[in-house]
Symmetry: C2
Subunit: 472 residues, 2 copies
């Protein structure tokens, strides 16, 4: 099968990609609104107008309804739903995870998806939840893998998804991903993570997604199954997730909840509608509360804000400013900040993936000390070969007479050749007063540079000497 | 004159207020789009539909154009502009600051504003720019004050603005504000700050605005003259600014610039339009670039995003979450972070103003250690009267047998009575690992508590003992 996924641009572990499907080529990251085949809260035609170009629906629900099933087999999935772009179908695994049992066999529901011409078909796997015993995670993973081997062997014209399970065991996730990448799947959903997202366990989400990504390698498209709240799109995209699905837009609307990129409000507790989407332009809070169409209108707002955030994520990847967006977005909740810190601890992994073209480096918090550019420079600073008298100074006006080399000093980088001052990343915009995290990193780099150049004589002239210079 | 300004709700130094004018009552903070009397890039009627309910225009431009002047005197300002809500008028001071000279006398342009029934009239003051000598700042301030004394003595039915000058000298700003508050003005613009905002000198902006606010007291409405970029609305509102004016929506549009709450993009460098406003819903980036109406459409987007941010600021003030918004917004640029840090250093001032009803306290960065709730608790902790055996523990499962008092421990607060665990602010959501700033504050509070209770015997059992416990 030809390569279905092409990567156009990279930032952190995120990327702009192109995924080819039987019903068209889709730019990723992409948000697929979930459409209920029984009841379209927002009709597919309206969803297209709102800017969605790919959707996901549930093949199990269609299969279990004789009328829908016959129509789907007769006219095809796309005519049934009324959507001509790519459609992904879920398998009923979600129902399995909720009800413990479903009334269809794995190959039966997969072949049904093939027969109704779904663009991306998902085998019926076992979505193991977080926090189960290792034994359970392993045995369910074995069952999932058996089914996936069976699925991968089938003839198909659709794309096939290979879900990665493994509960909250990163090593199992990595192993599962490594196993699947050698089979012929087209898209890799990370499954069983909805409970992590629902309870804001974003550190662990970062852990399991990172593990799966490491096992898969960077070339494969990854679907974060059930990720529909716009507050996590930036973080999940930075981890290298390419496909997202949102039932959230409708589920939250039914609960009277208003989505924003910073979290969720109950509509009844709001005083204003701080949004420019058509719904929020045409209604104020009171009108929306009292509208007969409240659920649909809220769902529309929720979907607008979600599609908008995905566009912002893509814009930031294009210009290499995704970390800056994370600095804002992960300050919506302490658990998201935990997620960002966890991502920061993967500096070496990120550095290996991260593209090099960047907009200006902004130092925005202690977490900025863990950006790939900082890690990269820390690794390379020992390559600076210096001899004779070397001045390290943070004063651009310093008297440099008599020195063989002049290095400027800027936390978190520490010393760098003066002639690179206007070059990325050393032209970074930094706060007036560096924080401890930046100073420590600068001190570590200074020490490394000095140790790597035993023949040079260093003079350090800093307007405010960090106490930690010289410490490890 | 009856009290024109009523404060309904407070958060940090920000507030929801009601300002009464001859043409209606306005809820603050409010953004006044600037309308050019010669050429309405977006007609006033459209601006109303977009959600603006107050505007500002320039009386000097009207006065210098014989045709406009005659119409304004004959029909009144509101009919001339085509806007029936409150209109503020500027005096020509901006032209004075740009061209160095204008062709009208102070009382002449003020009386003209009264005569055309402007709702808020601005005397012709001297807008001293940043960084001038102290002598110049002082002498220009004296001239401004003479004119303001003269203005305040006039009969009027309009509201009168008393601009606060003083360049980048906080003590002059505070003195100027203290002087004006005893005269009968209705609104207090902080003037001469556009150059600070244009060059991202947000720390100094915080300094001069804070100084002006201290001089004025908390009851007076403050206008931040020339503040039109939505990236600073949250910070400026948190300082207690109530009125904002935006020429930025149109000026940036003429330069092909697209405003967002996180900064500005050149339209030509964008790949997507990450916004849900009607303009960005109806066009993609390419269509907008190529549109004959590009400048107007960009201006509309810029105004939509500005009005939207003001609604978000108000929503956050209503629910007491303005600091959380600052944590996100001030991570758009290191200079905004400098501004937030400067605001944090005004903890005592903020604590005196800040309302007490709050949503959950989120610890989101080292700057969260400077929130008013933290300052307040640090001041009150010595009032905890303890005797006998006291346990301080961060383990909810700790064995408390034999202790007379049990205190929980959570940075940045440090120890607090266990029975307050579910109470604001001790029910704070904090990161898994506290940062240095939180630990230092918690250690200081612990020390203070121990010193205030010499008769009690303290046992400290922390799962991870901060090194700094016991230090100052």
């Amino acid at each position: 099968m030809p390569d279905r996924f092409e990567i156009l641009q990279k930032d952190l572990a995120g990327r702009i990609g192109r995924l080819s499907t039987p019903h068209g080529v889709i730019e990723t990251p992409v948000l697929m609104p979930v459409i209920n085949p029984h009841l379209q809260l927002i009709p597919a035609s309206e969803i297209v107008r709102m800017g969605a170009n790919m959707i996901i629906t549930n093949s199990y629900i269609i299969h279990q309804d004789p009328k829908l099933r016959d129509q789907a087999l007769e006219k095809g999935l796309h005519k049934l739903i009324g959507f001509q772009g790519p459609i992904m179908t879920d398998s009923g695994a979600f129902q399995l995870s909720v009800y413990g049992d479903i009334e269809v066999l794995p190959l039966q529901i997969l072949n049904f998806q093939f027969n109704i011409q779904s663009d991306i078909c998902v085998p019926l796997d076992i979505p193991t939840p977080p926090d189960v015993s290792r034994e359970q995670a392993e045995s369910e993973l074995r069952l999932t893998e058996e089914r996936l081997i069976e699925a991968a062997a089938l003839d198909r014209s659709s794309l096939l998804a290979g879900p990665i399970q493994g509960s909250t065991y990163p090593d199992l996730r990595e192993k599962a991903a490594g196993f699947l990448k050698d089979l012929s799947f087209d898209v890799y959903p990370v499954g069983g993570v909805v409970p992590l997202m629902e309870s804001y366990r974003f550190r662990e989400l970062v852990e399991v997604v990172t593990a799966a990504k490491k096992g898969l390698g960077s070339g494969a498209p990854v679907h974060l199954f059930g990720a529909g709240h716009p507050m996590i799109f930036a973080l999940a995209s930075a981890l290298g997730c390419d496909l997202f699905d949102s039932a959230a837009y409708a589920l939250y609307a039914r609960q009277g909840r208003y989505l924003t990129v910073r979290g969720t409000w109950k509509l009844e507790e709001m005083h204003y509608l701080p949004c420019s989407c058509p719904v929020c332009q045409e209604h104020d809070q009171k009108e929306l509360m009292e509208s007969q169409q409240r659920i649909k209108l809220l769902a529309m707002h929720n979907l607008y804000v979600s599609l908008q955030e995905m566009k912002l994520v893509k814009q930031c990847i294009r210009e290499g400013s995704l970390w800056d967006l994370l600095e804002s977005r992960c300050r919506s909740h302490p658990r998201l900040l935990d997620g960002l810190k966890r991502l920061g601890s993967e500096g070496q992994w990120l550095e290996g993936l991260d593209g090099s073209r960047k907009s200006t480096f902004f130092y925005l918090s202690p977490e900025s000390s863990f950006r790939p550019e900082v890690i990269r420079y820390a690794r390379r600073i020992e390559r600076l070969m210096l001899e004779g008298d070397v001045l390290i100074s943070d004063d651009p006006e310093a008297d440099t007479a008599g020195f063989d080399h002049v290095l400027h000093f800027k936390p978190p980088f520490g010393p760098y050749p003066a002639e690179l001052s206007e070059t990325y990343p050393f032209n970074a915009e930094v706060p007036e007063n560096p924080d401890d995290s930046a100073l420590k990193q600068a001190a570590r780099n200074t020490k490394r540079l000095i140790e790597a150049n035993p023949k040079a004589r260093f003079s350090i002239r800093l307007r405010s000497l960090p106490e930690s210079i010289g410490e490890k």
